[in-house]
Structure formats: structure tokens, C-alpha cells
């Protein structure tokens, strides 16, 4: 059954989608949770398989690359797969309680398709397959955004859809050029023959622009806050935590596989500048929002900026520092996924309590829902990058890497970003601590909602203590070109 775990990552979500479309309400839920459990187990067994045999490839349909499509299981893919499994299952549990029956009916298939798309992206090592995966992901995400069916979310969905489509087309253009130049779609094979000619540079440029647009990197970010801020809570969590990571993951994959850090230092610098701008702009905007979920959405924007700082820090000169940066970036991604999901869920609960979106309506909630505020706070700790948390560890590694390479600008940016994030998170906090007259008329969310939010937040903190478990999966050779 050696082929099972890896295929399971694709088959189970698709089965889930089928089941949720075909079955009646009760069986839909039951089967969904059975499949979620199966997927979690599947991930674990894949992890053990990875421990056993290291990085391995799986040819779909027994057609090996470049003719067929190969899936690849390496540390990075595994980390992301585990991450999505964790976040998605918790979000599913949350959604199951949070959403109304009609919404839930539609949520399940979207959710499963989303998961399938994510897994296919994590595992794929084929450029075109990545494109299809991206499309699947985008459409599922758009569907989820539109799930609340009001005008705002429709506008958000449309914006998102167009951005995503444009991004996909950019990516596809790049794939077209690369295929024409090298005659292959398989990423490992491509990396063997790759050289930075004009056409491949243009191709990579298009791909990167497209993917960064989907990731909502600074100047191309305007679709993100309304989409993430306006969606239903579990959806926001999924989108912010997982969906934007997918396109970024591809950029990261391309960058490291094709060893772009050797090819062009200025590109890395450009990425870094975009990232810095995102950090500062996102932080600043988050500080000035009046709606809770928009604060969190803008915070995602800023966090994406941190991920971008990996690129200038990957250098061919200093292997150790590059490795640190890569590890740091991955840790940041992971921590952000957990923390942001936790934060969105907690925020959703808060908004549920007060029934309004305004920050002002949070007054008195920290008395009413201390556990929930605690969950929000823990997630905030990771987002701010305060120790002990995954976010801190990631930031630490990035700073270390920047220091070792004497790239002080990034250190300054990271620090300013942390201060900004602290400012906006604590701003939210101070609203919850406000005591007002009549601040007792709150709805009470179900216990599951609070516990799910808390569990993710706690995980993001625990990640700070167990980072080595994650980082051990990333051997130094995976990053640095020999």
C-alpha cells in the first residue's frame, strides 16, 4: 500500500466533495468527519513514510515525468500538507457549528475541493498541474467568499475572482514560455536544464507576478481585505491561513528549485522591497481599520510581507544564513496559518457575541468571554512575533539570517513591522477591555466555537516550542544550491 498515503491526499478530499454533493444532510456531515479523520491519519502515515524513505516521488497513473505527472513528497510539501490538514479540520469543525444548515450544505463541497486543490498544489511537481490546482483553488475560494451571498461579499468575490484569473493567466503564460523553451513541464527536470535566458526570465517574471497577485503582495493586494474581511468566519480563516499560502508556495518552490538566488540578486532585492512595503503598509492600514475582521485581513497583508523577505535573504554566498532564512520563512508561514486561522475564528466568535462588525462593539467582551479573548491574544502573540510562538521563531531566524548577511535593512523592517503589529493587535485588545454601560447584552457562542479557536491559537504558540519538529523536515540541501 505504498501508494496509498500520497494518493489519499487527493482521493479523500475528492471523495469528500462527491459525498457532500450526493448524500443527505446527516450522512453528509458524518461522512465528512470520517473523511477528515481519514485525511488526518493519512497525513500522519505519510509523515511516517517520509521518515522511512525520505523524499520520494509518485508517478500518477504510473507515467513518470516528464510524460506523466509526478507528485513529490518532501519536507516542505509535507509541512504544508500537515498544516492544511490541521487548519482545515479545525475550521471544518468550527463551520459545522457556526454556519446555518443552508450555508453548511454548500460549504462542504467547496471545502473539500479547496482541500483537494491545496493538497494537489503542495504535492505537485508539474508546472501545468500546478496551474490547474491553482484554478481549482481560486474557484473554490471565490465560491466560499460568495457563500454569504450579500452584496459586499459578492463584490469581494468578483474582485477576488478577477485578480485570481489574471494571476492564473500570468502563471500560464510563464508556463507556456517555459514549455516552449525547455520542452518539459516537470519541475525537477526543468531545474536540471534551467538557465536564465531572456525568455525564461520573462516567463518567471510573468509567473511571479501572477502568483504574487494571488498571494496579495503589496501593490496587488487590494482584493484581499474585502474578500477575507467580508467572508464568513470559517471561510476567512481558511482563506487567510491556507489559500494565499498556495500561490506563495509555488513561488518559493520555483525560487528554490530553479536556484534563482544564484541567478539574480536584484530580483530578490525587489521581492524584499515589495515585502517591506507590504509589512509597513499592511500594518499601518490594520492600525486604522474600524472593523475587526478588516484589521485581521490587513494583518494578513503585512504578514505576507514577512514571507517575501525570504527571497533577498537566500544568497548563494552564505549557505548557512540562507538556510536560516528559508527555515524562518517556512516557520512564519506555518505560524501564520495557525495563528491567523485561530485569530479569525476567535474574532468570529467575538463578532457573533456582539452582533456587529465594529471594533467599538467589542467593549466589555473581555469580561464576558475571557477564554475567547485569550484565544485571540495567543494568536496575536504569534502574529506580533512575540515569544514564545512560531511567529517569533520564524522572525528570529529571519533576523539572524539578515544579521549574518549584514542586511540590516530587513532587520529594521521586521522590527518596525512587529511594533506595528503589536500596535494593532493591542488596539483590538484595548477595545475589548473597555467597560461601557449596558455592555452585557451579548449572545453566547457555542463552546465548540471557542475551543476550536483556542486550539489553533495554542498550536501556534506550541509551534514556538516545537519548531525543531518542523525544521527537522527541512534538510539544508533542500534550500541551498550546491
Amino acid at each position: 500500500m505504498a501508494h496509498f498515503p500520497i494518493a489519499g491526499l487527493i482521493v479523500f478530499p475528492l471523495l469528500g466533495a462527491l459525498v457532500s454533493l450526493a448524500l443527505s444532510k446527516r450522512w453528509r456531515t458524518v461522512m465528512s468527519f470520517i473523511l477528515i479523520t481519514a485525511l488526518l491519519l493519512n497525513n500522519v502515515s505519510l509523515l511516517f513514510q517520509f521518515y522511512g524513505q525520505g523524499t520520494f516521488n509518485e508517478a500518477m497513473g504510473n507515467w513518470s515525468a516528464p510524460l506523466g505527472i509526478e507528485l513529490r513528497v518532501d519536507g516542505l510539501a509535507l509541512i504544508f500538507s500537515l498544516m492544511s490538514a490541521l487548519v482545515a479540520s479545525v475550521c471544518a469543525l468550527y463551520a459545522c457549528v457556526y454556519l446555518s444548515a443552508t450555508q453548511l450544505k454548500l460549504f462542504w463541497p467547496f471545502f473539500w475541493f479547496l482541500w483537494a486543490a491545496l493538497n494537489s498544489i503542495w504535492l505537485s511537481s508539474d508546472l501545468f498541474n500546478l496551474y490547474v490546482g491553482l484554478e481549482l483553488l481560486s474557484l473554490a475560494a471565490v465560491g466560499l467568499v460568495a457563500l454569504s451571498r450579500d452584496a459586499t461579499s459578492l463584490a469581494a468575490a468578483l474582485r477576488y475572482l478577477f485578480a485570481a484569473l489574471l494571476g492564473s493567466i500570468g502563471y500560464l503564460l510563464g508556463v507556456a514560455l517555459l514549455y516552449a523553451t525547455y520542452g518539459t513541464l516537470s519541475l525537477p527536470e526543468l531545474s536540471q536544464h534551467f538557465s536564465l535566458t531572456l525568455s525564461s526570465a520573462v516567463a518567471l517574471g510573468f509567473m511571479c507576478i501572477g502568483l504574487l497577485m494571488k498571494t496579495a503582495v503589496f501593490p496587488m493586494h487590494s482584493w484581499l481585505p474585502p474578500a477575507h474581511g467580508g467572508a464568513l468566519t470559517p471561510v476567512s480563516a481558511l482563506l487567510s491561513a491556507l489559500v494565499i499560502k498556495a500561490s506563495f508556495y509555488i513561488v518559493l518552490r520555483l525560487w528554490t528549485e530553479l536556484s534563482l538566488e544564484i541567478a539574480s540578486a536584484s530580483a530578490g532585492m525587489l521581492m524584499g522591497i515589495l515585502g517591506s512595503a507590504a509589512i509597513l503598509w499592511g500594518g499601518w492600514m490594520a492600525l486604522n481599520q474600524t472593523h475587526l475582521k478588516l484589521v485581521i485581513a490587513y494583518s494578513t497583508l503585512a504578514q505576507v510581507g514577512y514571507f517575501m523577505l525570504i527571497f533577498p535573504l537566500l544568497s548563494p554566498v552564505d549557505a548557512h544564513a540562507s538556510h536560516l532564512a528559508f527555515q524562518g520563512g517556512v516557520l512564519m508561514l506555518l505560524a501564520h496559518a495557525l495563528a491567523k486561522a485561530g485569530m479569525f475564528l476567535a474574532a468570529g466568535n467575538l463578532l457573533f457575541c456582539s452582533g456587529q462588525k465594529d471594533l467599538k462593539s467589542l467593549a466589555g467582551l473581555s469580561r464576558y468571554r475571557p477564554l475567547n479573548i485569550f484565544a485571540f491574544g495567543l494568536a496575536g502573540v504569534s502574529i506580533m512575533g512575540l515569544p514564545p510562538s512560531g511567529g517569533f521563531n520564524g522572525k528570529w531566524l529571519l533576523i539572524q539570517s539578515a544579521m549574518l548577511q549584514s542586511q540590516w535593512v530587513w532587520v529594521a523592517v521586521i522590527i518596525m513591522g512587529s511594533l506595528l503589529s503589536a500596535a494593532y493587535i493591542f488596539r483590538v485588545f484595548s477595545y475589548t477591555y473597555r467597560e461601557v454601560e449596558g455592555g452585557d447584552s451579548f449572545k453566547q457562542p457555542a463552546a465548540v466555537l471557542e475551543w476550536t479557536a483556542l486550539s489553533l491559537s495554542v498550536l501556534s504558540i506550541l509551534l514556538g516550542l516545537a519548531s525543531m519538529l518542523v525544521l527537522d523536515l527541512l534538510p539544508i540541501s533542500a534550500v541551498v544550491a550546491q
Partner: protein, 498 residues
């Protein structure tokens, strides 16, 4: 690992687990929560005693966990750690008792006690931290866990105070972070006490070393409320009395001071720091803060504000002590860490008692309280006398060591600072005592409560008496083997004779 080997972890966990459980408890379970809190505090003291005995036998139990490549979370119980941990554990018990009494019938107790325990857990972490990184982690955690306590009341002032507090401490934290990161990037993952590599590094790149020192100390100085960074402390006074007590006596300012001790002694080494000329500016700054804080305290009309500025001044004693080259000054600084904690906590308890029992917040309202609340006033008097440095209260012992230490280090000017500050201390504390004891009551108390008690509610009174008694005992029996002073000597002996 054996039970004893894991002791540092258990010490940390007692309050951490307590915090977790308290967060889980529903708001109404007051009895259970209080019991839990107290049991945890007592257990912690027990564990600390075990640990102290181990440490006294030249053992250093250590727990470490690698959380990033080349970066470990280390909890290590060395002698210095136990000084601070001991203080925190004792004061945790007292403050918990006090807080239970203080917050009776007030809302949000679950939240309060949860963060309270968390705060203590972080303090424990700070004290047991075995390297700079671990220290940093708990240092930041402390900031986080104290913020909810500062803004606990939720009034606009407290929110504003919380903002100020955060602005200061987070900026300080960031400076510290950069310092620590630089340290790890260029010097390496070193446990506290491994100063030889730092010396080598300083030889090769003195500028970088100076920058690291500056950043580390700068980061700590914010929490230690050294002069230009002291602004948060008086503003944070809006917090409830137990919080103020905790902030001032145990948690925050002490964490900063403790950090400075660690940096000077266990990261750089005092000899190196002196050779490089890092320390003298610091002691000048500390001296200035001492005088400045006292001077400002003199002008306050609010009891807690006066106490706050007094803290600004007193914590710098610690810094001043550890910057003195030579064992005696170090003993003074270290022991003042503990003594100041005991005395300041007493003062804050009493201030809280006045506020709770009689509604007194301003100094001029204190007239005649000695008659109404003799026990509280007695405790307050002891604390204040200790602050001035009048024997036999503990403050004198530390002042004595500081003065002689300064002379031993050849820094004669320090004793004039000490004397000047003592004069100022007397100038701002003695009038208060005078009002308490010797002036008749003026009209009605602003807001009288607890009329069924002669003094005030026992839960409020007893902790204040305990800490007052402890601070007298620490001074009176300073020569005994169990005193803080002996422990500080032990630390210094180990520090200077590795």
C-alpha cells in the same frame, strides 16, 4: 529525567498550569479558584525550597529544549536564579492572598487571576532562564501577561496607561530582541556564565560588542525604569493595588533589573564590562535615576504615584549595585533586589488597604489613619522606614552594602548619591508617616468600608503584615544563613570565583 532534574520545569509549571486551569474555570467558581491559586503558590514555595537546597549543594538542575537550530530554551536553577525565584514565589503567595481579599465582589476575577498566574509564570521563567534567548522569551511573555492586568479596570485612564505601558515595554522588547539576535548571530548560543567567548569576541570586534551591550541594557532599562524610560511606571498606577504591588515589587521592574544583572555578570562578565568602560555610564545613569526618582516622588500628591516614583529610584539601586566592580557592591545590588521587593510590596499593599478601606488616594487624606488602621499603618511605616534605609528594616542592609561596595570599587561619589537619595526618601516618606500617626483625622473618610473590622479585612491585612515582618526579618537577621543576604553572598562568591 528525574524529578529533581526537572524541578525548574515544575517550578515554572505550577503557576502556568494554575493559570490555564483558572482560565478554564467559570467566573463564579471563586472558592475553587482561590483554593487552586493558593495551593499552587504553596506548592511552588515548596518546590523552590527543594530547589534552593539543591543549588546550595553546588548542583544546577537544568532543563533544556532545542526549539530552533542552535537555539535552546534552557531553564537552569543557579544561585542567582533562585534569588529572584524565591522572591517571586513568596510574594506570589502574599499577593494572591491579598488579591483574593482585594477583589472580593468585583467582576472579572477569572481573567484577573489567570493573567496574574501567567505573570508569575513568566517571572519564574525570567529567573530560571539559562540563556539570553530564554530570558527574552519570558521577558516578552511578561509584557503580554501584565498588559491585561494594567488595563484590568477598563476605564479610559487605565486603557491609556496600558497603551503607554505597551509602547514603552514593547519598544524595549524590540531593542532587546535586536540585541539578543545580534548576540546569537555573532557570538553564539551561550549559556549564562560563559563569558570567555564574549571576551574573545569583544577583543576582535569591540564596536559590535559595545552595540550589543547597549542594546541589551537599553532593552532591559525600559522595564527597570531607568531614567529616560521610566515614564510608564507612574502611569501604570491606575491598575488595581495587587497589580501595582506585583509590577513594582516582583514582576516587571525587577525583571528589568534582573536582566541587567544577567547581562553584566553572566553575558559580559563584570571585569570585561568594566575594562571596556561599559559600566560606568550605566552607574552614572542609575545614580541620576536614583536622585531624579526621589526628587519626582517628592512632588507627588497621590500615594501610589509617590510610591511609583520611589520605585523608579529604588530599582536603580539594584542597577547601581551591580555596576560596582567588586563583590560587596554586587551583594548590595542583589540583596536589594529582594529587599526592595519585600518593602515595596508592603507599601503597595498598605496603599491598597487605605484605598479600599477608607477610600484614601491622596496623601493629604491620610491624616489620622494610624488610629483607624493601626496595623496597616504600622506595616506601612516599616516599609517606608526601610525605603529610607533606617535599620533594622532590610533597606538599610542593602544600602550599607551599596555604600561600602562603592567605596571598595573606588567610586566614592556613590555614597553621596546614596545619602542624597536617603535624604530625599526621608523627605517624601516621613511627612506621610507624620500624617498617619500624628495628625488627627479630618472630617469623614472619603469612602469607608469594612467597618466590621478594627483595621481592615483580614485578607488585606495579613499579607501586608507578613511582608512587613519579612522585610524586618530580612534586615534583622541578615547575618543568618537563611537570609537573603547570605544567599546573595553565596551568589557573589560563585560569581567571582568560578
Amino acid at each position: 529525567m528525574s524529578f529533581f532534574g526537572l524541578l525548574p520545569l515544575w517550578v515554572l509549571m505550577t503557576s502556568f498550569l494554575a493559570a490555564i486551569v483558572i482560565f478554564m474555570l467559570p467566573e463564579e467558581r471563586h472558592g475553587l479558584r482561590s483554593t487552586l491559586n493558593l495551593v499552587a503558590a504553596v506548592v511552588k514555595i515548596g518546590l523552590i525550597i527543594l530547589l534552593i537546597r539543591l543549588v546550595a549543594q553546588q548542583e544546577t538542575p537544568e532543563v533544556s529544549l532545542e526549539i530552533l537550530p542552535g537555539l535552546s530554551l534552557v531553564l537552569r536553577a543557579d544561585a542567582l536564579a533562585m534569588l529572584f525565584a524565591g522572591l517571586s514565589s513568596i510574594l506570589w503567595l502574599c499577593t494572591t492572598l491579598y488579591a483574593i481579599g482585594y477583589l472580593e465582589n468585583s467582576p472579572n476575577r477569572s481573567r484577573f487571576f489567570g493573567y496574574f498566574s501567567l505573570c508569575v509564570a513568566s517571572t519564574m521563567g525570567i529567573s530560571l532562564a539559562g540563556n539570553l534567548f530564554t530570558f527574552l522569551i519570558f521577558y516578552e511573555l511578561l509584557t503580554l501577561s501584565t498588559y491585561p492586568l494594567v488595563v484590568h479596570r477598563g476605564t479610559p485612564q487605565s486603557l491609556k496607561a496600558g497603551r503607554t505601558y505597551l509602547a514603552y515595554t514593547l519598544s524595549g522588547g524590540v531593542v532587546l530582541l535586536v540585541g539578543v539576535a545580534l548576540f546569537y548571530a555573532f557570538v553564539g548560543d551561550l549559556a549564562f556564565g560563559q563569558t570567555s567567548q564574549m571576551a574573545e569576541f569583544t577583543e576582535t570586534s569591540p564596536i559590535a560588542s559595545a552595540i550589543i551591550f547597549l542594546l541589551l541594557i537599553g532593552g532591559m532599562a525600559v522595564k527597570a525604569a531607568l531614567f529616560p524610560f521610566h515614564g510608564w511606571l507612574p502611569t501604570a498606577m491606575v491598575a488595581p493595588a495587587p497589580v501595582s504591588a506585583l509590577l513594582h515589587a516582583v514582576a516587571v521592574v525587577k525583571a528589568g533589573a534582573f536582566g541587567i544583572i544577567r547581562v553584566i555578570y553572566d553575558v559580559f562578565g563584570i571585569e570585561l564590562a568594566w575594562q571596556q568602560g561599559y559600566v560606568l555610564p550605566l552607574s552614572l545613569l542609575a545614580s541620576f535615576t536614583i536622585l531624579y526618582g526621589s526628587w519626582r516622588a517628592l512632588q507627588q500628591t497621590d500615594i501610589k504615584k509617590r510610591l511609583a516614583f520611589s520605585t523608579v529610584s529604588q530599582v536603580s539601586y539594584i542597577v547601581l549595585g551591580v555596576t560596582l566592580l567588586g563583590p560587596i557592591g554586587t551583594v548590595g545590588g542583589l540583596v536589594h533586589l529582594l529587599h526592595q521587593g519585600l518593602m515595596k510590596v508592603t507599601l503597595f499593599f498598605c496603599a491598597g488597604n487605605y484605598a479600599e478601606t477608607l477610600g484614601i488616594h491622596k496623601i493629604h487624606e491620610l491624616n489620622g489613619t494610624g488610629r483607624r488602621m493601626p496595623m496597616t499603618s504600622a506595616a506601612f511605616t516599616l516599609g517606608a522606614l526601610g525605603m529610607i534605609g533606617i535599620p533594622p528594616v532590610a533597606g538599610f542592609i542593602s544600602k550599607w552594602y551599596l555604600g561600602t561596595g562603592a567605596l571598595a570599587a573606588g567610586m566614592d561619589w556613590v555614597i553621596w548619591v546614596l545619602i542624597g537619595s536617603s535624604l530625599l526618601n526621608a523627605a517624601y516618606f516621613l511627612p506621610v508617616l507624620y500624617r498617619i500617626w500624628f495628625l488627627p483625622q479630618q472630617g469623614q473618610w472619603p469612602h469607608e468600608a469594612f467597618t466590621q473590622w478594627r483595621d481592615t479585612a483580614p485578607l488585606l491585612l495579613i499579607p501586608a503584615l507578613i511582608t512587613a515582618a519579612l522585610s524586618v526579618a530580612a534586615g534583622l537577621f541578615a547575618g543568618s544563613d537563611l537570609s537573603p543576604l547570605s544567599w546573595a553572598r553565596l551568589i557573589v562568591i560563585r560569581e567571582y570565583q568560578p
